[in-house]
């Protein structure tokens, strides 16, 4: 199974999802992020989904859960780079994507995170 790499830059954890997401990959990511947050005390998580073509309700819920888990470690999560087609589909699907902020790109995502700390 492929694992999504997590980069630490300063107080922020960066995750860039480049692959077609399988269910267990997302669940693994959740676990890995929890481990990293606990180990590093990072204050923010940026998940870049620029390359993600499909976000269904399972993946959407996983992203929300990642947001909630990060919150428990006093960290904020920003999802960046959502494609227009994905945003339109998620809206139609009715998935609320709670627990996370969203931004156009990593740069703006960082602005949000820094604005908050």
């Amino acid at each position: 199974m492929e694992r999504v790499p997590i980069l630490k830059i300063g107080q922020t954890l960066f995750v860039s999802i480049q692959i077609d997401l399988q269910d267990d990959t997302v669940m693994r990511l959740q676990e890995d992020l929890a481990d990293e947050l606990a180990a590093t005390g990072a204050r923010g998580v940026i998940i870049d989904i620029t390359a993600v073509e499909i976000v269904d309700s399972f993946i959407g819920r996983m992203l929300s859960m990642i947001g909630s888990i990060s919150r428990l470690f006093d960290a904020d999560t920003v999802i960046v780079g959502m494609r227009p087609a994905v945003a339109i589909t998620l809206t139609e699907l009715g998935l609320p994507l709670t627990g996370v902020r969203t931004a156009l790109n990593a740069e703006k995502g960082l602005e949000i995170l820094n604005g908050k700390s």
Binding site: I88, T89, G94
Partner: protein
């Protein structure tokens, strides 16, 4: 027509990829492709998780007035759905989040047909037309 066996998470990914290919070949716009593939992902996952595995059929179709479209069928021999109306309302869950799967998918496609009986498996047929 393509047939994909759904027995693992890997297969759900394969279904997505195959649906994407057929949707693109049949003139669906990028947004419509995304909607259809997302619906397929939901339905394929249902087949796997709640139906105990099953099969997906992907077919290119043509409407009465010549429009191209894609028809998907997901069938399993699982426990079936007892209350279909309930299953089609937003936010319904059994255990691990069947949740928005069915009602959400319905909004993403043009035609949606669900047949299911407890003990007799489930079949979902959806169609999305090009514009």
């Amino acid at each position: 027509m393509d047939e994909v066996q759904i027995q693992s998470g890997n297969d759900v990914v394969r279904v997505r990829q195959q649906v994407r290919v057929v949707a693109a070949q049949n003139g669906l716009s990028l947004v419509d492709q995304t909607k259809l593939v997302t619906a397929a992902s939901e339905l394929a996952r249902n087949t796997l998780v709640h139906g105990g595995g099953g099969v997906a059929k992907i077919e290119a179709v043509k409407s009465g007035n010549g429009r191209a479209g894609v028809k998907l069928q997901f069938s399993d021999e699982g426990p079936g759905i007892a209350d279909i109306d309930l299953a089609l309302t937003d936010g319904w869950t059994t255990g691990s989040g069947l949740g928005l799967g069915l009602s959400g998918s319905r909004r993403l496609v043009d035609e949606f047909q669900l047949n299911s009986k407890p003990g007799a498996g489930t079949s979902v047929v959806v169609v999305k037309w090009s514009r």
